[in-house]
Symmetry: C2
């Protein structure tokens, strides 16, 4: 089952990178050939133009304005150190921008406002065309103060209270609905929700999605079945103890706020002699391969589609550099990866 | 117990960043004040000079040559996608370079030679002053072809067969000696080694370190006690089954090639009713917090000091940009982080 839609909302078009690859030349050479500047052999120029025609490549106005009087560089600023959530975003963003010949400066501010300001000064000194702000968590942060507001700024996996800012985040609510509806579709009726600290926006939204899915299916919310805790395996084990110790009626499914909680829960169920998924189905969140695949059995999990988020940010940034303007919070869809912890027919 | 020496071999000196921080100005402003160029208020300039004097900052020849006719940018090229090994390296490298006012372009070639070449062309087009090549694994890769060989290139957590290249990698041999000597010091005499595929250089070197430490202590190598497998928890569990099933004499310690193997081994021991560390001590490798801290009990592990590796690469690159030359493979020290899996007195 695939975890990554090839693109969420931006149709693929042939890029200069595709043309360069097909012609067997560098992006720079392809650009020179198509813009009829720079010194190139006639043969090379012809080869590039032929490749562009075969691929239906049209240097559009956006691309042309992009290449005029721009530094062709953007900055990506992680405000609280890069981690497993930001890596895939940054990687995909960099890939998409590289296809347009845009290079990425990477800066890491590690939760230090003074450092963040120095990085920003440095990036502005490099005359970057745009800035992407990302974080370990998709929660709210102060807006980045960019002089004159003329430079495009996008917040990815990160939000700010500036109403004019564009923020791209995963749809936590929709992801939770996916996970819980999957459990309901397999016949589960007593679904508990084991999640992280209630100070996280993601916890609130996933909890709402869980309740919305129960409500839509006409299933009751059972007292004590939402358990807040830490984002840890130990927290998942503790929640299982609390839900099962000395209880006559117990859950037939656990919808977990992340994969670590789900993994801890799965271990605790196994150690009680309960079978996953036959006795209790388990669904995690994040689809973090290290956790999801190492669990016994491997975890069904909601995928945040972080690479798609990074690519979408790249597309938006390119459009904004070319003059378009976007604002508001966009929540991009999650998807569900089904494995044995909820479906015994999976191998 | 600290996992990260503040610096492995390069003494700390006041940088322009320290001066800027103390004076409460940006690095750019501090640089202008110290180099007596750009338009600044007299008061600002005096404040920076006072801060520089208080910190004993001397703009040395290296820094001055650095700031003359340089782009003040370097590229970092990951040849097989960024991951948990390269991110701490890249973060620390970027931090160290930012202190010198150098910005980092990040490129990811994801195992694709054509893409790597395009990235390199793009970086050269940006007139970068230097290049750092990193990878998911510290194994050998082809040398990067830089025209003219005049631009400094450093391989970090990555090696090449070019004898003129500088490669910085962790000391896997020394790290293994640390781990095994720790087990021997706690009285263990039957130490097995559970490791990854023997095609990895790290596996060979860690195995040599294991045998060297046994030899030095006069302990015999026991037949069947070195077990190659995958880098996975399942592989650790399988190795425990092979070592313990129906055996009268069993290991009193397991030295594992990574933390996933160690975690799987720890789970398998617990499920056999054996106590870790009282019956069998376990040591992992990598000190990957996600694995090491979630294991029951938490794992003693050899730390690769990846951030120190990144900082060292930053220092070397700065020196090389200023005209110094280094070559050869340097193996930087690992350290040992002791937790409950080998020491019951740890909390």
């Amino acid at each position: 089952m695939t975890t990554e839609p090839t693109d969420l909302r931006y149709p693929e078009r042939a890029t200069i990178r595709d043309v360069a690859e097909r012609a067997g030349v560098s992006i720079g050479t392809a650009s020179k050939a198509l813009n009829d500047n720079g010194r190139l052999k006639r043969e090379t120029r012809d080869k590039v133009i032929a490749a562009a025609q075969e691929l239906g490549f049209r240097p559009n106005a956006m691309a042309q304005s992009l290449h005029r009087s721009k530094s062709m560089t953007v900055g990506i600023l992680s405000t609280d150190s890069f981690g497993r959530f930001s890596f895939p975003i940054v990687e995909a963003l960099e890939e998409r921008l590289a296809e347009h010949g845009i290079a990425v400066f990477m800066c890491n501010a590690t939760d230090d406002p003074a450092r963040e300001k120095q990085h920003l000064d440095q990036l502005l000194g490099k005359r970057i065309d745009g800035l992407v702000v990302t974080a370990r968590r998709s929660d709210m942060r102060p807006a980045i103060a960019v002089p004159g507001k003329s430079m495009p700024v996008i917040y990815v996996f990160s939000q700010t209270d500036d109403p004019d800012a564009l923020c791209l985040v995963p749809d936590d609510f929709g992801g939770a609905v996916l996970g819980v509806e999957h459990l309901i579709a397999s016949g589960r009726k007593r679904i508990a929700h084991l999640t992280g600290p209630d100070t996280f926006e993601a916890v609130t939204l996933r909890n709402r999605g869980y309740r919305a899915a129960l409500g839509k299916a006409g299933l009751p919310e059972i007292a004590g079945y939402v358990r807040y805790g830490k984002w840890s395996e130990a927290s998942g084990r503790d929640a299982v103890d609390a839900l099962f110790d000395g209880k006559s009626e117990v859950p037939d499914a656990l919808f977990c706020g992340n994969d670590q909680i789900a993994r801890g829960a799965t271990d605790a169920l196994r150690e009680r002699g309960l079978r996953v998924p036959q006795d209790v189905a388990v669904v995690g969140f994040d689809n973090w391969d290290v956790m999801a695949l190492a669990a016994r059995p491997p975890l069904t999990s909601v995928d945040l589609n972080l690479r798609a988020l990074g690519r979408a940010a790249g597309e938006r940034l390119i459009a904004m550099i070319a003059g378009e303007r976007f604002k508001g919070v966009e929540r991009l869809p999650c998807s569900l990866v089904v494995r044995q912890s909820s479906d015994p027919t999976q191998t």
